[in-house]
């Protein structure tokens, strides 16, 4: 076995242990450790990705020395490695972009705690991405929830604690359902490893026995993960959690945590249940309908919102709807579009959160849209970045959002029954997106004559501005050279089955 095959295991352990180490380090050192760990894990994932592309097939890594049905396993394919790499990039950029805000909002003595949580979150995300064992996945889902909850409440104001409680409650409901579904699945198949469950499920379906418990189990797992990833109508916790936490947390929560759960769902669909079996159930229709509803209701809520952070948060609800719509189409193309949208949305949404914070800073800290008037002139980089993010969300060509919409539409035309619904909703949602994002952008560039707030120059926010530039570049990269990425996603999904 090649040495590279150890990398997934290394990266999980590295981030887990660095979290522990951070607890005894002073804030500065913890920050450095955190950054280094993210970079190292990113590099490991990149190497792994290159290795996997050259080898062309996934590998399975035994944890301990027990073979398949008993031991715990890690599995890495192109999609897993790519996702890990992407998560690292987004996490690094989000941390860098929100670093200065952390000092304002979080007590200095708590900084190292923050880095513990981020490292833990990274390790749990990596574990969710790589694991081949359902129960391990469950455990790391819980770790993910706990650390995400910590990220929300690290900024100690009433709102965030309340948001954290609400987040926690919904997440616990979700993980309870997931666990129950998982236990039923274990009961039915006798396995916990994904590959083994899949074999047994195939036999079970072929035999025609236990169909109802099987469906119930799949449905429970789906609903659990839907709640955790804030699919409409389970999104009530989301605006507060994203809207009031410190900005790095908001960016990470919206672009990574929910995506981690969605990625787990993709794994469950492909590696546990089997794509075709899953598509033959009615569950995809339910996902499809709720996806569509989410796309519309998320956007309409965002239009009504007059707080910029909450507006972006509501837009997340709509974007998650897109992803589930892709699942609901039940085709390979729909799945590819969804995975692409995971990337595109992660890149765009974190950009928007980070850019929004720059704009609110130069508006006296107020997040009301009214106060943001003209802030695009006061903080030019944030203004440009917000505009770029908005254009991507609206789906203007050359930005990543356009490609994902294109992929969704191409997938939709191949599905007879769902074509019209998805294209029309896609259109409505595009226009709704345009309404609130373009409205905001115009507001940013409406000069106010004599504004009471001072602007900020490039010199005073070099790191922040550079982060934004990287974000914009990432977005344009996804939008312009999408083909290689789509090819990788297709290969990765092929490796899943």
């Amino acid at each position: 076995m090649n040495f590279v095959c150890n990398f997934p295991f290394f990266s999980i352990l590295l981030s887990l242990f660095s979290g522990t180490i951070c607890s005894v380090l002073p804030a500065k050192a913890a920050k450095i450790v955190n950054r280094v760990v993210i970079v190292v894990v990113g590099l490991l994932s990149a190497t792994l990705l290159l290795y996997l592309i050259s080898v062309g097939e996934p590998f399975i890594y035994w944890m301990g020395h027990f073979p398949a049905p008993w031991g715990n396993e890690i599995r890495a394919g192109i999609l897993e490695a790519g996702m890990a790499l992407f998560f690292c990039i987004i996490m690094y950029l989000s941390m860098a972009g929100g670093a200065h805000k952390l000092f304002d909002e979080v007590d200095e003595s708590k900084h190292n705690l923050y880095y513990i949580l981020v490292n833990l979150l990274l390790s749990s995300l990596l574990a969710l991405v790589y694991t081949n064992d359902m129960f391990t996945a469950y455990v790391f889902v819980e770790i993910n929830t706990i650390s995400a909850c910590g990220l929300i409440m690290i900024r100690q104001v009433g709102r965030t604690i309340e948001a954290a409680v609400r987040y926690m409650i919904m997440s616990l409901l979700g993980s309870g359902l997931l666990l129950f579904g998982l236990c039923i699945m274990y009961d039915l198949t006798g396995h916990l490893l994904m590959s083994n469950i899949k074999e047994s499920v195939a036999l079970l379906v072929a035999s025609g026995e236990y169909q109802i418990p099987l469906i119930v189990s799949v449905a429970l797992m789906c609903v659990g993960l839907c709640i955790k990833s804030a699919l409409f109508p389970f999104h009530a916790w989301l605006p507060d959690a994203y809207g009031y936490s410190t900005v790095s947390s908001a960016a990470i929560l919206s672009s990574l945590v929910s995506k981690g759960y969605i990625f787990l769902l993709i794994k469950i669909i492909y590696r546990v249940i089997g794509f075709n079996i899953f598509n033959n159930t009615r569950i995809i229709d339910v996902l499809f309908v709720f996806g569509l509803m989410g796309m519309i209701f998320g956007s309409t809520s965002a239009i009504r919102e007059n707080d910029v952070r909450r507006m972006i948060a509501f837009s997340s609800v709509a974007q998650i709807g897109y992803i589930y719509m892709g699942f609901g189409m039940g085709t390979q193309a729909g799945m590819v579009a969804s995975v692409y949208h995971i990337l595109s949305h992660a890149a765009t949404k974190s950009l928007l959160f980070i850019a929004a914070i720059g704009l609110t800073e130069v508006s006296g800290g107020s997040r009301k849209l009214v106060d943001l008037t003209g802030s695009g002139y006061r903080n030019k980089w944030a203004g440009v970045a917000f505009t770029a993010g908005s254009l991507s969300m609206v789906g203007i060509p050359l930005f990543s959002g356009f490609i994902s919409k294109l992929l969704f539409a191409q997938a939709a035309v191949q599905v007879e029954g769902k074509m019209l619904a998805s294209l029309i909703v896609l259109g409505i949602s595009t226009i709704l997106n345009a309404i609130y994002f373009m409205k905001t952008v115009i507001r940013l560039y409406t000069a106010t004559g004599n504004s009471p707030y001072r602007g900020i120059t490039f010199g005073k926010m070099k790191r922040y501005a550079i982060t934004l530039i990287f974000f914009i570049l990432l977005n344009i990269l996804l939008g312009v050279s999408s083909q290689p990425i789509v090819d990788l996603i297709e290969q990765g999904l092929a490796m899943f089955s």
Binding site: P69, W70, F135, Y138, V139, E142, T145, I146, C149, M153, V157, G158, R159, I161, E162, A164, V165, R166, M168, I169, L172, L173, G176, L177, L179, F180, C183, Y186, D187, L188, T189, G190, H191, L192, E199, S200, L203, L204, E209, Y210, Q211, I212, P213
Partner: protein, 148 residues
Amino acid sequence: MIDGRRKFDICVAPSHKCSGIEVNMGPNLLANYGEAVSAILFCIGFTNLLLQTNLIKKIIGLNIMDSAIYLFLAEKGYIAGRVAPIVVDGVTSTEAYINPIPSGLVLTGIVVSVSVTALMLSLTIRLYTRYHTLDLDEISMQLKKEGR
């Protein structure tokens, strides 16, 4: 029994205990009373967690929900007439023992749910010291009044 190769399948319950579709529900439900009870408990816990406004009651609901799942696992993992897989009298046949994995899962699950409960309780304390109430809706009202 799904797959003959695997010795530790837990679906080795007596045939009357399996929940088939074509058989009528009554006897099945009776035979699977443990699972039925755990499902009912799960629903009770779930509803409590979702609908109670009192935070402590919510946490109790959470614990009921989790315990229901552990009950389910334990129920599924036990096979009547067999013993825990600890070899004392030299019997090594797998037929004599139950599958230890569900018990292991229960233990892991308990650890997870304890830590989650601890976190929830600490959050509740935070909120209580700040707002002097355990009612989540009332806390939301107060937050709205604060206007932040």
